[in-house]
Structure formats: C-alpha cells, structure tokens
Amino acid sequence: MWIKLRRTFRSGAKNFIRNGWLSIATVSVMVITLFVVNIQLAIIGANDLRLKDVQNRVNISIEIRPETTLPELNDFQRELEGYEQVSSVELVDKEQALAEFKSFTQSGSTIQSGIETLGENFLYDTLVLKTQDPSQYEEVVKKIEGSASAKYVEEINYHKYRSIIDGLSSELRTTRKFSLTLAITLSLVAILVTFNSIRITMYSHKQEIEIMKLVGASNNYVRFPFIWEGIFYGLASALIAIPLSFLYLKFITNGEASSSVFAFSNTKFLKDFMAVYFMDNILVIVSLQFILAVMLGVVSSLIAMSKYLKKF
C-alpha cells in the first residue's frame, strides 16, 4: 500500500513537471477561477461590513423641549434605558451640540456669522438612542410617543432619516444578492473551464492509461498518479491565487479610501474587510482555498479519466 502510494506520487509529480505547458495552462485556469471567487467573496464581505456600519449609524435623536428641567431629563433618560429594545441612550446637551455644529461648518462662513449674530444657542438638548436591532426603531418610537414622557419631546427625527436609511439598506441588500449571484455564476463558469482543461490533459494521457493497463497495472494503480497530479494542480494554483488575490485587494485598497455608493468602488469597507476579517481568518481562508482547489483538481481528474479506465 505505502509502496504504491509512494510510487504513484512520484510518477504523478513527474507527470506534472514533464507535462510542462499543459500543466501551466491548467494551473492558470484554476488560478483565475480561485482569483475571481476570492475577489467576489471579498466584495461580499466588504458589503456586509458596510451594511452593518449603516445599521450602526442609525439612531433616534430625541430633541427635548427647552422648558424641561435637568432632573426630568435624567428621569426620561433612565426610563428610555429601561426599554428592553434599547441598547444605549446618550445625552448630548445643546452646548456640546453647538460646538459640534460649529466644527462642521467653516469658520468665517455665513452660517458661522449667522450663529454669532443670533447670539443665543438655537439648538436643543438631545437624547441619542440606539436599539439592539435596527428593525426595532419603529416600535421604540411608537412607545415613546405613547408614553407619559412624550410631553418632554420637541421632535423625534427618526422619521426624517427613515426613508434614507431604508433606501440605503435595501440597496446594500440588492448589491449583496448581485455579488453573490455573480460570484456563484463566475465560479460555475470557472469550474467548468477547469474541468474541461483537465479533461484535455487527460486526453493526452489516454494512450498512457491504455499502456499502463496493458503492462498489468490495476485500475487504482493507474488512477493514483492522476489523482496526485490533480492534487498538484490544486496546490500550485492555490499557492499562486492566494497571494495574487491578496496583492490585488491590497493594491485597490491602497491610498485614500473612497466610500462610493457602489460596492465595487467602495474601498473603505474593502479595506476594513481586509484589515479585520481577512487577517483574522487568514488560516481558515488559506486552508479552505487549498482544500477547494485540491478537490476541484482531483474530482475533475477522476471524472475525466473514468472513461478511459472503463474500456477494459
């Protein structure tokens, strides 16, 4: 058994090297397959991060009537914190809000001088509220509006943002579906191309298989060098495709991050994805890639040669 494995391994390795161009062609096709799949997966990953990010940004700002006293305000805040759906409530008082507002606008601009002439703070104290899950906002807003504390509320601005947020989330979900279908389709195409090119390689082995059987090789003895060859195709292509995808992603995320609406050009999240997800899971990704590539190689080889083995 061992001697068989060793011998077939050796002959598979020799085949791989001596096949030269055919091996290079097969490996290149597999590299492209893996590369395309990798990039698509990265885009999906980045897109998911972006969706999470948008969801995190969503909050409810509750502007408080100016006549509300500080103890009342604190009670209201505690009441909100008591809601089971609410994950955090933060008080932004109007001085702080004004300072933030000023820092957003340019000094010396009309808005700034407007604020100066106004002389007083026109902003409200605000409670900024987040829920466990974005889908719970609606519920929470209704609860506040129905409660006794509603008298403190000047305005809840959730309604203003809602349509924008909903629009963005649904767009991101569509992008996700789009990327996923594209990834699956491209992978299928690439798998078929790989399978076909291995089939062509096997065709070149047709006479060899016939001769091996003639000399008295068992079916398994004939099969194993080709299985090894398939493994080598897989290993070689994963070995090239992983650094290639990595370098490519690094290259396009290099420099200033852009946060375009389109997933493809949104490098900010791709960058985050690379930095966080990719690096954390690099071992899993790399080994999965190897396993997938090897399986692709082996299965294609086995299917491709089965018809030459059946003959006798």
């Binding site: 096949n19 091996m212 059987k213 003639l214 000399v215 008295g216 090789a217 068992s218 003895y221 006798f312």
Partner: protein, 226 residues
C-alpha cells in the same frame, strides 16, 4: 497451455472477425500467426490478453478460463503475459529505464529488485547505455527492444508479439526476431502475429495461417503460404 475452443467474435454490424477457431498451444512453443491485414490475427491475440472477449467459445490459459476472471484479476493475468506491438506502446514521458521499471512497479516489486533487474534486462536487449533516453530520442528498433525488455521483465509465461517488426527496417527486424527466438529458448512461449513472409520462412517454426477470421492451415515447421 493455451486453448482456444470454438471461438467466434462478431462485432455488431460487420462480418465476423473470428469464426470457429480451435487452437492449442503448448508451453515453450514458438507460433507464428500469419495472414493478410484483417484476417483476424490481432483479434485472436487480444482475446488472450483480455482486451477483447469472444462472442462465443472458451479461452483458457493454464487451465483457467479467462472469461471467468474477475475484473480485478485481469491485471495479474496481464503480468503473466508479455506484449509487444507494432507501435511499441512506450510511455513517451518516461525514460527507457522507467518504462521497464514501470512494469515491475506495477507488479509490486521492491525498489532493490527493480534497481537490480532493470539495467540487466536493458543490457540483454543491448540498450544498457541508453537507459536515460526518452523513447523519441532513440530509433524504432531500439524502442521495440525496450518494449521487449518491458514485456520480459516480469518473466512472463507467454510473450505476445503483434506485428513487432511492422515498422522496422530489415536489420532491426532481424535483431528483434533473434531476441524473440532467444526468449523462446529460455522457455517462454512466443506467439507472433506477422505478415512478413521473409522472417516466417527463415525461422521455420510452427505457422498458423488465417484468412477471413478462420484458421486455414496449421503446420509445424511451416512456411508463409497463403
């Protein structure tokens, strides 16, 4: 040792390739099967190394009915039968030495035995100096000698040679024939299919003549006569 009994072989949609063949070959014989192309020589030999199965009849080898062998037993049978062909059937991607050692590897021989046997057998066929060449780098005659070495290396009981000299010049042809005779002298049964009148007449051994799938004559010390 080898018996063909009432053999016929019919390919669907064509006239029979073999019809009512009865032939017995004793151990140690040298039998030439002659006839025109398409007379059924190759088909007859294929039955023996089980690349083809007869439509009716029995092929037995060492009193074992080949038709009863299971699929996984066929490789073992093929190691007992050496084969040589007109087109040599060497593995182009392996060197001459590797081509020979492959037959030993397949039979599960140890590495030590392989490294001892291969140079010896290459020396016997006169190719000791070309062990590391690839088949395409040597002449047709030399390729055929490698094929012979490969066929012999497992010490087969029978050597089947199907038009082994069909692609060779007269000198190479004669060299191969002398090797075949030598192999036969050492006790291996040789079955030679050929349409080369010259060599059949010259070796003066048993000749079986075939025509249209039938045996029309079978003579000890025969000549090529159609």
């Amino acid at each position: 040792m080898i018996r063909f009994e009432n053999i016929s072989k019919v390919y669907p949609g064509s006239s029979p390739a073999l019809e009512n063949i009865n032939l017995q070959i004793k151990a140690g014989e040298f039998v030439s099967v002659v006839g025109h192309s398409g007379a059924g020589k190759s088909t007859l030999l294929k039955l023996l190394y089980t690349e083809e199965r007869p439509t009716t009849g029995v092929v037995s080898f060492d009193s074992a009915n080949l038709l009863d062998l299971k699929k996984r037993e066929l490789p073992i049978l093929r190691r007992l039968i050496g084969t040589v062909f007109q087109d040599y059937k060497l593995l182009q991607k392996k060197t001459l030495a590797e081509n020979v050692s492959f037959a030993l590897e397949v039979a599960g021989k140890s590495d030590m035995e392989i490294s001892e046997t291969v140079p010896k057998i290459l020396d016997i066929v006169g190719l000791g100096g070309k062990a590391d060449h690839y088949p395409l780098e040597v002449s047709g005659g030399e390729q055929q000698r490698v094929a012979l070495a490969r066929a012999l290396v497992n010490k087969p009981k029978v050597l089947i040679a199907d038009e082994p000299t069909g692609n060779l010049d007269p000198i190479s042809t004669w060299e191969i024939m002398q090797l075949l005779l030598k192999i036969n002298e050492f006790g291996t049964t040789v079955l030679l299919a050929t349409h080369d009148k010259g060599i059949v007449d010259r070796i003066a051994r048993r000749v079986v003549v075939m025509e249209d799938g039938r045996i029309i004559s079978d003579k000890q010390k025969g000549k090529y006569e159609l």
